[in-house]
């Protein structure tokens, strides 16, 4: 049985201006101990997806359809109360910008203790001991002292460690990290990523890393899902995405990625244009207004919505270009540019 599986998940928000289709037919699956990277620009639906898995859209204005299977349970149709009891315990989340994601009026310890005690009927002192352990585990020095510090008294990296400690305090089986390193310095980013990799191994959790930065997922992820305008446009193993990317958008992401592990390319190649409105998604392929290769689709890109099709060995791509054309463009036009010294 697959540990986590999304089937045709749709999360739509009615607004005064129209229906915002933040997530529009998303499917993927993930096993324990594996890491999935979800990559996309802001507004692509990746954060909405993660909140959707946690059930945080329930009771709001969102219209949710499709299925989310977690360890044999379907969550979309489950009651809000039941999903709440799973939150924090079975699945936990690490947020971007821990300064705003942690309550400014409570100590770091109190916030970890609170998280622990919701799901474990233990005394405060036991919970506190556990919190100190967790802080120690994520590498915070003098955890018995720092447990009583307020978030603003921590450095950015320390806060993110504390945030991770909080998320892991109940030993979750699914951990979602939403832009876990965006707010951090580059050196600290690397430390946090190392920490997460170690912890995931220790806890044997399924990990979803959400980011707009391919560099973050490069080393951690087993699989990578590229989202655009609420839809998956490419899905494959880390190797598929980095060595044989087939979607023009993924090429764009790779081109605009400053990489630590390679020589700096002479210049970044950002994707032209801006992400589309989610209310008036462009006709045909949502990416076509920004796509350099639309003219090679025989006009289909502006009229027909492409479907997500398997290219080879589980590598899925949503593109009108034929497989040969895509491979040829990658090999001849994109890759040389990226790898040029």
């Amino acid at each position: 049985m697959t540990f986590l599986e999304l089937k045709d998940l749709r999360i739509h928000f009615p607004t005064d201006d129209g229906l915002v289709k933040s997530v529009d037919g998303l499917s993927f699956s993930l096993e324990r101990g594996k890491t999935l990277g979800i990559v996309g620009e802001s507004g692509s639906g990746k954060s909405v997806t993660s909140l959707g898995i946690l059930g945080l859209h329930k009771g709001g204005r969102a219209r949710i359809s499709g299925e989310i299977w977690l360890d044999g349970e379907e969550l979309v149709s489950a009651s809000a109360e039941h999903v709440r009891t799973l939150r924090g315990k079975k699945m936990a989340m690490i947020f971007q910008d821990p300064l705003s994601a942690m309550h400014p009026f409570y100590t770091v310890g109190a916030q970890i203790i609170e998280a622990y005690r919701i799901h474990h009927k233990v005394s405060k002192s036991v919970a506190r001991k556990h919190a100190i352990e967790m802080l120690d585990r994520v590498g915070i020095p003098q955890p018995d002292r720092r447990v009583d510090s307020y978030p603003h008294e921590f450095s950015g990296g320390m806060r993110q460690r504390a945030m991770i400690a909080m998320a892991l305090s109940c030993d979750p089986e699914l951990l979602i990290a939403d832009e876990p390193t965006t707010a951090l310095d580059v050196t600290v980013q690397a430390q946090i990523l190392d920490l997460m990799r170690d912890l995931q191994r220790d806890f044997n959790a399924a990990l979803i890393i959400i980011t707009h930065d391919l560099g973050v997922v490069a080393e951690l992820s087993d699989d990578i899902l590229v989202m655009y305008a609420g839809k998956a446009i490419e899905y494959g193993t880390s190797e598929d995405i980095f060595e044989r990317p087939e979607h023009p958008y993924t090429w764009g992401l790779l081109g605009s990625m400053p990489r630590l592990d390679r020589e700096r390319t002479e210049r970044l190649m950002p994707i032209k244009g801006t992400p589309p409105s989610l209310i008036n998604v462009p006709q045909g392929c949502a990416f076509h207004p920004r796509c350099t290769y639309g003219d090679r689709t025989g006009g289909k890109s502006t009229t027909e919505v492409p479907t997500l099709l398997e290219s080879e060995g589980g590598h899925l791509v949503r593109c009108h270009l034929s497989g040969d054309v895509r491979r040829s463009i990658w090999e001849n036009e994109i890759k040389p540019n990226l790898e040029a010294p």
Partner: protein
């Protein structure tokens, strides 16, 4: 912390001195600049058709012939060191803090202030509890059910509450509830708490509600706005992600943060409550500081005005100090320096 408090208290003393000088100037310097003489000032404090001789005597007795600096000095000295007062058959010593003797009743002001303080305190505490509870509760529910019927109705009533003057709501509620239905105490009722707590509450329930209504409305709007803002904060999402119940999320995480700015306003409001108390106490004829103030101003009874202004200013300053201290307790990010 201690140095902070001491510094604030010294500053408070300076403030009070400035306030007293300004009040004094409004009463004596400004009329003098406008051409008033000691005698013309004294005409306010003698009987009608007083003769020139009578007015002269009064001006002398009230010390209006002295230079203003001397007059102010006498007032300040009274507060610090007390004063002596000739009441006819003998001389009475008015111990510090002596706010002087009323120009009209010739009675010392300080005992009056102490006498009236419990009334205003009773009014203020009761009303404050009511308005905070009612205002915050309404604001929270409105924020959580934004756009609902409750929200719209509550905010409409709140708008009315902020806009309607107390003398109107007060008079209308007296006519309806006291004189019409006979279920609340008539105007002018006050029983000290220590005499009979039930009668105390009974006599104040209408003034409390009237005064609280005015403030509750503002607090409801403020709480609603604060809650809407905090409930969209990242840490609320975190709290939910931890699996907290919605109740805990709203009360422990949301309201706690939303209350912080309200605490500031609350401190100011309680300090400045005398403004509301003036109207409420006038409308309900409650013998408190507010009524005392308005009577004193109407009668241009300067020692009373000075007394009540300084008293009120003192409370504003103290209330602000307490709020600042509380703020540091509530919000750990604030450090007093």
């Amino acid at each position: 912390m201690a140095t902070y408090i001491i510094r604030r208290l010294i500053w408070a003393a300076v403030m009070l001195t400035i306030v007293s000088i300004i009040t004094f100037a409004i009463f004596f310097l400004v009329p003098r600049l406008a051409g008033a003489t000691p005698e013309s000032l004294a005409t306010r404090y003698v009987g009608r058709t007083a003769t020139a001789e009578q007015v002269k005597i009064a001006a002398e007795k009230l010390g209006f012939n002295d230079p203003l600096v001397v007059q102010y000095g006498r007032f300040a000295k009274g507060i610090v060191a007390g004063a002596d007062y000739d009441y006819g058959p003998g001389v009475e010593h008015c111990p510090a803090p002596c706010f002087g003797y009323s120009f009209l009743t010739r009675l010392p002001v300080w005992p009056d202030l102490l006498d009236r303080l419990p009334v205003t305190m009773s009014l203020a505490i009761g009303a404050a509890i009511l308005w905070v509870l009612a205002g915050v509760a309404t604001g929270v529910v409105s924020a959580l059910r934004r756009g609902s019927f409750f929200d719209r109705a509550a905010m409409t009533i709140a708008l009315g509450g902020v806009s309607l003057p107390i003398f109107f709501t007060g008079m209308v509620s007296l006519v309806i509830f006291s004189y019409g239905l006979g279920i609340t105490a008539p105007g002018g009722s006050f029983t000290p708490f220590l005499d009979d707590p039930a009668a105390w509450a009974y006599s104040l329930i209408l003034p409390w509600i009237t005064l609280a209504f005015l403030y509750a409305a503002g607090y409801a709007r403020l709480t609603r706005a604060g809650m809407l803002e905090t409930m969209s904060e990242d840490y609320i999402r975190t709290a939910r992600a931890k699996g907290l119940t919605e109740r805990t999320v709203v009360l422990k995480h949301g309201l706690r943060a939303a209350l912080t700015p309200i605490l500031t306003i609350f401190g100011l409001d309680v300090g400045l409550l005398l403004g509301g108390a003036v109207l409420t106490e006038s409308t309900y004829s409650l013998p408190g500081m507010g009524k005392y103030a308005i009577d004193a101003i109407t009668n241009q009874d300067l020692p009373k005005v000075m007394g009540v202004v300084l008293f009120a200013a003192f409370f504003v300053v103290v209330a602000n100090l307490i709020v600042d201290l509380l703020y540091a307790v509530v919000d750990p990010r604030v450090r007093l320096a």
